[in-house]
Protein backbone atom coordinates (compact mmCIF):
# COMPACT_ATOMS: atom_id res chain seq x y z
CA UNK A 1 0.00 0.00 0.00
CA UNK A 2 2.92 2.33 0.71
CA UNK A 3 4.26 1.81 -2.82
CA UNK A 4 0.82 2.46 -4.26
CA UNK A 5 0.65 5.75 -2.42
CA UNK A 6 4.13 6.66 -3.70
CA UNK A 7 3.14 5.87 -7.28
CA UNK A 8 -0.02 7.94 -7.00
CA UNK A 9 1.78 10.90 -5.45
CA UNK A 10 4.47 10.85 -8.12
CA UNK A 11 1.97 10.39 -10.94
CA UNK A 12 0.08 13.50 -9.90
CA UNK A 13 3.28 15.51 -9.52
CA UNK A 14 4.72 14.37 -12.85
CA UNK A 15 1.59 14.51 -15.01
CA UNK A 16 1.60 18.22 -15.86
CA UNK A 17 5.37 18.64 -16.37
CA UNK A 18 5.32 15.59 -18.64
CA UNK A 19 2.49 16.94 -20.77
CA UNK A 20 4.16 20.34 -21.06
CA UNK A 21 7.49 18.76 -21.94
CA UNK A 22 5.91 16.47 -24.50
CA UNK A 23 3.77 19.12 -26.22
CA UNK A 24 6.10 22.08 -26.22
CA UNK A 25 9.09 19.80 -26.85
CA UNK A 26 7.41 18.21 -29.86
CA UNK A 27 6.41 21.68 -31.10
CA UNK A 28 10.02 22.83 -30.90
CA UNK A 29 11.20 19.66 -32.65
CA UNK A 30 8.70 20.30 -35.44
CA UNK A 31 10.06 23.87 -35.75
CA UNK A 32 6.80 25.53 -34.69
CA UNK A 33 7.16 29.15 -33.49
CA UNK A 34 6.11 27.94 -30.05
CA UNK A 35 5.81 31.27 -28.27
CA UNK A 36 3.65 32.90 -30.93
CA UNK A 37 1.43 29.87 -31.31
CA UNK A 38 1.00 29.60 -27.54
CA UNK A 39 -0.14 33.21 -27.30
CA UNK A 40 -2.51 32.74 -30.21
CA UNK A 41 -4.15 29.79 -28.50
CA UNK A 42 -4.19 31.45 -25.09
CA UNK A 43 -6.21 34.36 -26.48
CA UNK A 44 -9.26 32.11 -26.73
CA UNK A 45 -9.13 31.52 -22.98
CA UNK A 46 -10.55 34.93 -22.23
CA UNK A 47 -13.44 34.66 -24.68
CA UNK A 48 -14.50 31.28 -23.37
CA UNK A 49 -14.26 32.41 -19.75
CA UNK A 50 -16.58 35.33 -20.39
CA UNK A 51 -18.93 33.38 -22.61
CA UNK A 52 -19.83 30.81 -19.96
CA UNK A 53 -20.79 33.39 -17.31
CA UNK A 54 -24.55 33.59 -18.07
CA UNK A 55 -24.89 29.80 -18.29
CA UNK A 56 -23.01 29.27 -15.06
CA UNK A 57 -24.99 31.95 -13.22
CA UNK A 58 -28.30 30.43 -14.37
CA UNK A 59 -27.28 26.95 -13.29
CA UNK A 60 -25.66 27.87 -9.97
CA UNK A 61 -28.59 30.07 -9.03
CA UNK A 62 -31.11 27.25 -9.48
CA UNK A 63 -28.86 24.82 -7.59
CA UNK A 64 -28.34 27.27 -4.72
CA UNK A 65 -32.09 27.84 -4.38
CA UNK A 66 -32.66 24.11 -4.46
CA UNK A 67 -30.13 23.57 -1.69
CA UNK A 68 -31.36 26.42 0.49
CA UNK A 69 -35.04 25.43 0.23
CA UNK A 70 -34.76 22.10 2.00
CA UNK A 71 -35.86 20.18 -1.11
CA UNK A 72 -33.04 17.77 -0.46
CA UNK A 73 -34.71 16.55 2.75
CA UNK A 74 -37.97 15.95 0.93
CA UNK A 75 -36.24 14.08 -1.90
CA UNK A 76 -34.32 12.01 0.64
CA UNK A 77 -37.60 11.06 2.26
CA UNK A 78 -39.22 10.27 -1.13
CA UNK A 79 -36.32 8.12 -2.29
CA UNK A 80 -35.87 6.20 0.95
CA UNK A 81 -38.03 3.19 -0.02
CA UNK A 82 -35.87 2.62 -3.10
CA UNK A 83 -32.58 2.94 -1.26
CA UNK A 84 -33.73 0.64 1.53
CA UNK A 85 -34.17 -2.01 -1.15
CA UNK A 86 -30.45 -2.06 -2.01
CA UNK A 87 -29.45 -1.73 1.62
CA UNK A 88 -28.11 1.78 1.26
CA UNK A 89 -27.72 3.79 4.46
CA UNK A 90 -30.20 6.71 4.49
CA UNK A 91 -27.34 9.02 5.48
CA UNK A 92 -25.84 8.52 2.01
CA UNK A 93 -28.88 9.81 0.14
CA UNK A 94 -28.10 13.53 0.42
CA UNK A 95 -24.63 12.69 -0.94
CA UNK A 96 -26.10 10.85 -3.94
CA UNK A 97 -28.58 13.62 -4.66
CA UNK A 98 -26.06 16.42 -4.22
CA UNK A 99 -23.29 14.87 -6.33
CA UNK A 100 -24.63 15.71 -9.84
CA UNK A 101 -25.68 19.20 -8.71
CA UNK A 102 -22.77 20.74 -6.92
CA UNK A 103 -19.09 19.91 -6.55
CA UNK A 104 -18.52 22.06 -3.47
CA UNK A 105 -21.85 20.96 -1.98
CA UNK A 106 -21.10 17.26 -2.33
CA UNK A 107 -17.57 17.83 -1.06
CA UNK A 108 -19.12 19.33 2.05
CA UNK A 109 -21.57 16.44 2.48
CA UNK A 110 -18.75 13.90 2.01
CA UNK A 111 -16.50 15.60 4.58
CA UNK A 112 -19.37 15.84 7.03
CA UNK A 113 -20.21 12.13 6.67
CA UNK A 114 -16.59 11.13 7.15
CA UNK A 115 -16.25 13.35 10.20
CA UNK A 116 -19.40 11.89 11.74
CA UNK A 117 -18.88 8.23 10.90
CA UNK A 118 -15.12 8.10 10.28
CA UNK A 119 -13.42 7.87 6.87
CA UNK A 120 -12.96 4.11 7.16
CA UNK A 121 -16.58 3.34 8.11
CA UNK A 122 -18.88 1.87 5.46
CA UNK A 123 -20.67 5.22 5.14
CA UNK A 124 -17.46 7.22 4.90
CA UNK A 125 -15.96 4.76 2.46
CA UNK A 126 -19.06 4.75 0.25
CA UNK A 127 -19.41 8.54 0.33
CA UNK A 128 -15.84 9.04 -0.84
CA UNK A 129 -16.25 6.39 -3.53
CA UNK A 130 -19.38 8.18 -4.74
CA UNK A 131 -17.45 11.42 -4.87
CA UNK A 132 -14.52 9.82 -6.67
CA UNK A 133 -16.56 8.01 -9.29
CA UNK A 134 -18.93 10.68 -10.63
CA UNK A 135 -18.80 14.23 -11.89
CA UNK A 136 -20.88 17.33 -11.28
CA UNK A 137 -23.12 16.70 -14.28
CA UNK A 138 -25.08 19.96 -14.15
CA UNK A 139 -21.95 22.07 -13.94
CA UNK A 140 -20.39 20.26 -16.87
CA UNK A 141 -23.59 20.61 -18.93
CA UNK A 142 -23.83 24.34 -18.22
CA UNK A 143 -20.18 25.14 -18.84
CA UNK A 144 -19.57 22.88 -21.84
CA UNK A 145 -22.73 23.75 -23.75
CA UNK A 146 -22.50 27.36 -22.63
CA UNK A 147 -19.02 27.76 -24.03
CA UNK A 148 -20.27 27.08 -27.56
CA UNK A 149 -23.65 28.78 -27.16
CA UNK A 150 -25.74 25.60 -27.44
CA UNK A 151 -29.06 26.15 -25.70
CA UNK A 152 -31.07 23.13 -26.78
CA UNK A 153 -29.37 20.26 -25.02
CA UNK A 154 -31.79 17.51 -26.14
CA UNK A 155 -31.30 14.30 -24.18
CA UNK A 156 -27.95 15.26 -22.62
CA UNK A 157 -29.27 15.89 -19.10
CA UNK A 158 -31.35 12.70 -18.73
CA UNK A 159 -28.56 10.55 -20.20
CA UNK A 160 -25.99 12.13 -17.90
CA UNK A 161 -28.20 11.71 -14.85
CA UNK A 162 -28.96 8.10 -15.70
CA UNK A 163 -25.22 7.43 -15.92
CA UNK A 164 -24.77 9.14 -12.54
CA UNK A 165 -27.50 7.03 -10.98
CA UNK A 166 -25.85 3.86 -12.30
CA UNK A 167 -22.48 4.99 -10.93
CA UNK A 168 -23.85 5.91 -7.52
CA UNK A 169 -25.80 2.68 -7.11
CA UNK A 170 -22.77 0.67 -8.22
CA UNK A 171 -20.65 2.55 -5.68
CA UNK A 172 -23.07 1.54 -2.91
CA UNK A 173 -23.12 -2.11 -3.97
CA UNK A 174 -19.38 -2.43 -4.56
CA UNK A 175 -18.57 -0.81 -1.22
CA UNK A 176 -20.91 -3.19 0.58
CA UNK A 177 -19.12 -6.16 -1.00
CA UNK A 178 -15.71 -4.63 -0.42
CA UNK A 179 -16.26 -3.93 3.21
Amino acid sequence: METLRLIIDWASVLAIPTIILLFIGYGGYKKIPVYEVFVEGAKEGFEVGVKIIPYLVAMLMAIAMFRASGMLDILTWLASPVTNLIGMAPELLPMALMRPLSGSGSLGVMSELMKTFGPDSLIGFTASTMFGSTETTFYVLAVYFGSVGVRKTRYAAPAGLLADAAGLITAVLVCQLWF
Binding site: M1, R5, A11, S12, I16, F23, K30, F38, G41, A42, E44, G45, F46, V48, G49, V50, I52, L56, L60, M61, A64, M65, F66, A68, S69, M71, S111, M114, P119, S128, F131, G132, S133, T134, E135, T137, L141, Y144, F145, V148, G149, R151, K152, R154, Y155, A156, A157, P158, A159, G160, L162, A163, A166, G167, L168, T170, A171, V174, C175, W178
Partner: protein, 225 residues
Protein backbone atom coordinates in the same frame (compact mmCIF):
# COMPACT_ATOMS: atom_id res chain seq x y z
CA UNK B 1 -35.07 19.33 -21.30
CA UNK B 2 -32.76 21.59 -19.33
CA UNK B 3 -35.55 24.17 -19.56
CA UNK B 4 -37.90 21.92 -17.65
CA UNK B 5 -35.33 20.86 -15.06
CA UNK B 6 -34.33 24.47 -14.43
CA UNK B 7 -37.92 25.68 -14.21
CA UNK B 8 -39.00 22.96 -11.79
CA UNK B 9 -35.92 23.24 -9.62
CA UNK B 10 -36.69 26.89 -9.03
CA UNK B 11 -40.46 26.52 -8.66
CA UNK B 12 -40.28 23.57 -6.28
CA UNK B 13 -37.60 25.29 -4.22
CA UNK B 14 -39.81 28.35 -3.83
CA UNK B 15 -42.85 26.26 -2.90
CA UNK B 16 -40.95 24.12 -0.42
CA UNK B 17 -39.28 27.11 1.21
CA UNK B 18 -42.56 29.01 1.46
CA UNK B 19 -44.34 25.94 2.81
CA UNK B 20 -41.67 25.36 5.46
CA UNK B 21 -41.84 28.99 6.53
CA UNK B 22 -45.62 29.01 6.83
CA UNK B 23 -45.55 25.76 8.77
CA UNK B 24 -42.87 27.02 11.14
CA UNK B 25 -44.57 30.34 11.77
CA UNK B 26 -47.84 28.63 12.63
CA UNK B 27 -46.53 25.77 14.77
CA UNK B 28 -43.55 27.40 16.46
CA UNK B 29 -43.54 31.18 16.47
CA UNK B 30 -40.01 32.35 17.22
CA UNK B 31 -39.23 33.38 20.80
CA UNK B 32 -39.32 37.12 21.23
CA UNK B 33 -35.99 37.23 23.01
CA UNK B 34 -33.13 34.99 21.80
CA UNK B 35 -29.91 35.45 23.71
CA UNK B 36 -29.32 39.12 23.17
CA UNK B 37 -30.68 39.91 19.74
CA UNK B 38 -33.35 38.36 17.58
CA UNK B 39 -32.41 36.76 14.31
CA UNK B 40 -33.55 38.94 11.40
CA UNK B 41 -36.46 37.65 9.36
CA UNK B 42 -34.15 37.30 6.37
CA UNK B 43 -31.75 34.97 8.22
CA UNK B 44 -34.46 33.06 10.07
CA UNK B 45 -36.79 32.13 7.21
CA UNK B 46 -36.16 29.65 4.42
CA UNK B 47 -37.30 32.19 1.85
CA UNK B 48 -34.78 34.68 3.15
CA UNK B 49 -31.98 32.12 3.04
CA UNK B 50 -33.09 31.16 -0.45
CA UNK B 51 -32.80 34.70 -1.82
CA UNK B 52 -29.40 35.13 -0.18
CA UNK B 53 -28.24 31.84 -1.70
CA UNK B 54 -29.47 32.82 -5.18
CA UNK B 55 -27.67 36.17 -5.12
CA UNK B 56 -24.52 34.60 -3.76
CA UNK B 57 -24.60 31.91 -6.46
CA UNK B 58 -24.75 34.56 -9.18
CA UNK B 59 -21.56 36.05 -7.77
CA UNK B 60 -19.96 32.62 -7.53
CA UNK B 61 -20.77 31.97 -11.19
CA UNK B 62 -18.83 35.04 -12.24
CA UNK B 63 -15.94 34.23 -9.92
CA UNK B 64 -15.61 30.70 -11.26
CA UNK B 65 -15.72 31.89 -14.88
CA UNK B 66 -13.14 34.60 -14.32
CA UNK B 67 -10.98 32.22 -12.32
CA UNK B 68 -11.01 29.82 -15.26
CA UNK B 69 -9.58 32.37 -17.69
CA UNK B 70 -5.94 32.00 -16.63
CA UNK B 71 -5.93 28.21 -16.65
CA UNK B 72 -7.93 28.22 -19.87
CA UNK B 73 -5.36 30.45 -21.53
CA UNK B 74 -2.51 28.23 -20.40
CA UNK B 75 -3.99 24.97 -21.64
CA UNK B 76 -5.43 26.37 -24.85
CA UNK B 77 -1.98 27.80 -25.60
CA UNK B 78 -0.33 24.43 -25.08
CA UNK B 79 -3.06 22.69 -27.08
CA UNK B 80 -2.50 25.10 -29.96
CA UNK B 81 1.18 24.13 -30.08
CA UNK B 82 0.27 20.45 -30.02
CA UNK B 83 -2.24 21.02 -32.79
CA UNK B 84 0.12 22.96 -35.07
CA UNK B 85 2.86 20.40 -34.50
CA UNK B 86 0.50 17.61 -35.57
CA UNK B 87 0.66 15.89 -32.20
CA UNK B 88 -3.11 15.93 -31.77
CA UNK B 89 -3.56 14.17 -35.11
CA UNK B 90 -1.18 11.44 -34.05
CA UNK B 91 -3.17 10.91 -30.86
CA UNK B 92 -6.44 10.91 -32.79
CA UNK B 93 -5.17 8.26 -35.19
CA UNK B 94 -4.16 6.01 -32.29
CA UNK B 95 -7.71 5.81 -30.96
CA UNK B 96 -9.46 5.84 -34.35
CA UNK B 97 -10.86 2.29 -33.98
CA UNK B 98 -12.78 3.38 -30.86
CA UNK B 99 -13.78 6.86 -31.94
CA UNK B 100 -15.14 5.65 -35.27
CA UNK B 101 -17.79 3.69 -33.39
CA UNK B 102 -18.51 6.28 -30.71
CA UNK B 103 -18.53 9.31 -32.99
CA UNK B 104 -19.58 8.17 -36.47
CA UNK B 105 -20.25 11.77 -37.56
CA UNK B 106 -16.70 12.95 -36.97
CA UNK B 107 -14.07 12.64 -39.72
CA UNK B 108 -11.23 10.40 -38.59
CA UNK B 109 -8.42 12.87 -37.94
CA UNK B 110 -10.57 15.83 -36.96
CA UNK B 111 -8.99 18.01 -34.22
CA UNK B 112 -12.00 17.47 -31.96
CA UNK B 113 -10.92 13.87 -31.40
CA UNK B 114 -7.51 14.89 -30.11
CA UNK B 115 -9.06 17.46 -27.77
CA UNK B 116 -11.65 15.00 -26.44
CA UNK B 117 -8.91 12.45 -25.89
CA UNK B 118 -6.81 14.95 -23.96
CA UNK B 119 -9.82 15.93 -21.86
CA UNK B 120 -10.60 12.33 -20.98
CA UNK B 121 -6.94 11.66 -20.18
CA UNK B 122 -6.79 14.72 -17.91
CA UNK B 123 -9.95 13.56 -16.13
CA UNK B 124 -8.49 10.09 -15.68
CA UNK B 125 -5.41 11.53 -14.04
CA UNK B 126 -7.54 13.70 -11.78
CA UNK B 127 -6.24 16.93 -13.35
CA UNK B 128 -9.55 18.74 -13.23
CA UNK B 129 -7.90 22.12 -13.82
CA UNK B 130 -6.58 20.94 -17.14
CA UNK B 131 -9.64 18.89 -18.04
CA UNK B 132 -12.09 21.80 -18.34
CA UNK B 133 -10.08 23.88 -20.86
CA UNK B 134 -9.37 20.79 -22.94
CA UNK B 135 -13.02 19.79 -22.83
CA UNK B 136 -14.13 23.25 -23.91
CA UNK B 137 -11.64 23.09 -26.76
CA UNK B 138 -13.23 19.80 -27.79
CA UNK B 139 -16.70 21.38 -27.67
CA UNK B 140 -15.51 24.22 -29.88
CA UNK B 141 -14.22 21.75 -32.46
CA UNK B 142 -17.43 19.70 -32.26
CA UNK B 143 -19.46 22.86 -32.75
CA UNK B 144 -17.67 23.43 -36.08
CA UNK B 145 -19.13 20.13 -37.31
CA UNK B 146 -22.57 20.82 -35.85
CA UNK B 147 -25.13 21.77 -38.52
CA UNK B 148 -27.49 23.45 -36.04
CA UNK B 149 -25.43 25.75 -33.82
CA UNK B 150 -28.10 26.17 -31.14
CA UNK B 151 -28.83 22.49 -30.69
CA UNK B 152 -26.55 19.84 -29.21
CA UNK B 153 -25.21 17.33 -31.75
CA UNK B 154 -25.12 13.59 -31.09
CA UNK B 155 -21.33 13.70 -30.83
CA UNK B 156 -21.49 16.44 -28.21
CA UNK B 157 -23.91 14.48 -26.06
CA UNK B 158 -21.88 11.29 -26.39
CA UNK B 159 -18.77 13.21 -25.35
CA UNK B 160 -20.51 14.83 -22.38
CA UNK B 161 -21.83 11.53 -21.12
CA UNK B 162 -18.33 10.04 -21.24
CA UNK B 163 -17.07 13.15 -19.51
CA UNK B 164 -19.60 13.33 -16.69
CA UNK B 165 -19.29 9.66 -15.87
CA UNK B 166 -15.54 10.19 -16.07
CA UNK B 167 -13.39 7.29 -15.08
CA UNK B 168 -10.80 8.73 -12.73
CA UNK B 169 -7.76 6.59 -12.05
CA UNK B 170 -6.75 8.83 -9.17
CA UNK B 171 -9.70 10.58 -7.46
CA UNK B 172 -7.23 13.01 -5.91
CA UNK B 173 -9.51 15.30 -3.90
CA UNK B 174 -11.49 12.47 -2.30
CA UNK B 175 -8.23 10.73 -1.34
CA UNK B 176 -6.79 13.96 0.06
CA UNK B 177 -9.83 14.57 2.27
CA UNK B 178 -9.83 10.98 3.48
CA UNK B 179 -6.19 11.34 4.43
CA UNK B 180 -6.79 14.64 6.22
CA UNK B 181 -9.56 13.05 8.30
CA UNK B 182 -7.24 10.32 9.49
CA UNK B 183 -8.12 7.42 7.20
CA UNK B 184 -5.85 4.40 7.66
CA UNK B 185 -5.97 3.69 3.95
CA UNK B 186 -7.10 6.73 1.96
CA UNK B 187 -6.42 5.14 -1.46
CA UNK B 188 -8.75 2.25 -0.75
CA UNK B 189 -11.48 3.96 -2.76
CA UNK B 190 -9.53 3.79 -6.04
CA UNK B 191 -10.71 0.37 -7.22
CA UNK B 192 -14.36 0.78 -6.13
CA UNK B 193 -14.40 4.22 -7.76
CA UNK B 194 -13.10 2.84 -11.03
CA UNK B 195 -15.69 0.05 -10.99
CA UNK B 196 -18.54 2.48 -10.25
CA UNK B 197 -17.40 4.97 -12.88
CA UNK B 198 -17.02 2.23 -15.48
CA UNK B 199 -20.58 1.15 -14.79
CA UNK B 200 -21.75 4.76 -15.14
CA UNK B 201 -19.93 5.09 -18.46
CA UNK B 202 -21.39 1.84 -19.78
CA UNK B 203 -24.95 2.81 -18.82
CA UNK B 204 -24.50 6.36 -20.14
CA UNK B 205 -23.09 5.24 -23.48
CA UNK B 206 -25.73 2.55 -23.92
CA UNK B 207 -28.48 5.09 -23.25
CA UNK B 208 -27.02 7.60 -25.68
CA UNK B 209 -26.49 5.04 -28.42
CA UNK B 210 -30.00 3.61 -28.02
CA UNK B 211 -31.53 7.08 -28.26
CA UNK B 212 -29.44 7.87 -31.32
CA UNK B 213 -30.44 4.63 -33.00
CA UNK B 214 -34.09 5.22 -32.18
CA UNK B 215 -34.02 8.77 -33.52
CA UNK B 216 -32.28 7.67 -36.70
CA UNK B 217 -34.95 5.07 -37.34
CA UNK B 218 -37.70 7.59 -36.62
CA UNK B 219 -36.17 10.06 -39.05
CA UNK B 220 -35.90 7.39 -41.70
CA UNK B 221 -39.53 6.30 -41.44
CA UNK B 222 -40.63 9.92 -41.45
CA UNK B 223 -38.56 10.46 -44.59
CA UNK B 224 -40.30 7.57 -46.32
CA UNK B 225 -43.76 8.68 -45.32
Amino acid sequence: MLNHIWFWMIMLSLFVAAGTDIYNEITAPPPMETAGEELSLNKRTKLGQLSDAALEAAQTGVNISLGLIGIMALWLGIMKIAEEAGFIKILARLVAPITRRLFPEIPEDHPSIGAMLMNIAANMLGLSNAATPLGLKAMEELQKLNPDKETASNSMITFLVINTSAITLIPASAIAIRASLGSVNPQQIIVPSIIAATMATIVGLTTVKLIQKFEKRKNRTEGEA
